[in-house]
Amino acid sequence: MTTQFAGQLEGRPRPFDVVVRLLFRLAAVITIVITVGILLALLLPSIGFFSEVPITDFLFGTRWAPRFADASFGVLPLVTATLWTTFIALVFAVPLGLGAAVLLSEYAHWRVRKVLKPILEVLAGIPTVVYGYFAVQFIQATVLKDWLQLPTGSFSVLAAGFVMGIMIIPTIASISEDALSAVPNALRQGSAALGANRMQTTVRVIFPAAVSGIVAAIILGVSRAVGETMIVALAAGQQARLVANPLEAGQTMTAFIAQAALGDSVVGSLQYDTLFAVGLLLFVITLVVNIISITIVRRVRKAY
């Protein structure tokens, strides 16, 4: 009796499964190899750079003039420009993006949401060079100078930051909306049954419950703003100097990299290596922002 059925449960070879598993593994390995490769490509030239320029001069120096005869490699001017444009972008994008997300998730009829959300996401598909021209031609030249009569030149970190803010609104709005919509309806009903109105429910129950997704959305916005190149290269100007007020022009780290990469530095020269040192700093800043945000999310996160 027993022997008659023996072997019925033994596995059969499944060649297709093996191939698929190999393909997936390959995809994972390639991704990791590329990441490590980029990191190495940044690190190796940077080592050359820092063997000639002390790291403290680089990090705390206030004059950025890598191409002049009396070369100076203080990166702070680039950092201030990046901080200004990013800060300005967030000042506009966070309230507008979150506002749009709340409207879509908590207030809008589902039919409205179905139409509005894709339209919002189209904003994310506009090439950044178009945003850049919009910033320099319209916001800077027309709005800030002609209409508002502000004391500013041809470029400003304000115009670049503002337009960058517009660019990241869809990122923040769309991901936050996903986070808000993912909060179970049972919480909305529970809140309503206690006599809370929609705003109270949204602010006190739904928002805290969705906070990890919302923070993730903002961080993604920050990362995009820090890394954005075309808008700042076009609208913020190309002069590397400490930026004290938002109407001034300034060169961000990314704008410098774009400019230097297009230039005629000899490969392996010190000028050439600056590119990678700035790139590495950019990478570290983004990494730190990410780590901080993950820590914040872990601390305030309230699973539902």
């Binding site: 009903q189 049954a193 206690l194 006599g195 809370a196 109105n197 109270q200 006190r204 419950a209 309230k302």
Partner: protein
């Protein structure tokens, strides 16, 4: 017509003054679908009324129309009158938010907020702007009434999500009590709980009856028999006009009468387990 005789003859009206909360010829629609048809009944003050019946008989829908929770569902609409203290809660000048503060609700699945135990209870009084000398006292009072205080008094700052299902449901009841409603609606409050937790909630309902009017929807007939003073039996009836099924009230009376001596054949069939 037969279906309302027991109500309209007054044979089973509550002994105590009733009319605090009542339905008068209520129809509830979802879009063009009529989920509940022509329900009239009054709930006794400080009594527990159970709404029972097979799935799809509209009892939960009716319950949600008693504190305008249906407003949150697109296309839901109530015809007829639902009165509370003699006032139509669907009246033009009535604020649904005020209705829900006076008529609270406990849901099928415990739905504590992802906040601390303390903040879960304090939430209702806070959003309603209820001024209290001491929020701690109010929280303690609500938790004590919900028979949860002893279990959580040392961990009020901890997340409510760390509680067991039965504790969470009692927390939701405490949360409802904290806004001092007059009526508590319960939509199958024990269906997600084990028998021991269920027994605790039932004991709690007995205690709460002294201060609150309670309406409970339940699938569990034994539960209705155990806790309810009065029971309303609903069923789904095929509309002769369009063939849709719609919920109707079959019989309403004292629980003992409904279970031991039902006047309607359909009630008897359901109670004795012949259908549903």
């Amino acid at each position: 017509m037969v279906i309302h005789t027991s109500v309209r003859t007054g044979a089973s009206l509550p002994d105590k003054p009733y009319g605090q909360l009542a339905c008068e010829q209520v129809d509830v629609y979802y879009g063009s679908f009529r989920a509940v048809t022509d329900v009239s009944l009054a709930f006794g003050i400080n009594e527990i009324t159970a709404l029972i019946g097979p799935s799809g008989c509209g009892k939960s829908t009716l319950l949600r129309s008693l504190n305008r929770m249906n407003d949150l569902i697109d296309g839901a609409r109530v015809e007829g009158r639902v009165t509370f203290m003699g006032e139509d809660i669907y009246g033009k000048r009535v604020d649904a938010i005020e209705v829900r503060r006076r008529i609270g609700m406990v849901f099928q699945k415990p739905n504590p907020f992802p906040k601390s135990i303390f903040d879960n209870i304090a939430y209702g009084p806070r959003v309603n702007g209820i001024r209290v000398d001491s929020m701690s006292d109010l929280v303690e009072e609500a938790l004590t009434k919900a028979a949860l205080w002893d279990e959580v008094k040392d961990k009020l700052k901890q997340s409510a999500l760390g509680l067991s299902g039965g504790q969470q449901q009692r927390l939701c009841i405490a949360r409802t009590i904290a806004v001092k409603p007059d009526v508590i609606l319960m939509d199958e409050p024990c269906s997600a709980l084990d028998p021991i937790a269920t027994a605790r909630i039932e004991d709690l309902m007995h205690d709460l009856r002294r201060e609150y009017t309670i309406v409970i929807v339940t699938h569990n007939m034994q539960q209705a028999a155990r806790v309810a003073d009065r029971t309303a039996f609903f069923t789904a009836q095929v509309d002769e006009g369009n063939g849709d099924r719609t919920g109707v009230l079959v019989e309403y009376g004292k629980t003992a009468q409904i279970f031991e001596n039902p006047t309607d054949r359909r009630t008897e069939d359901y109670i004795s387990g012949r259908f549903g």
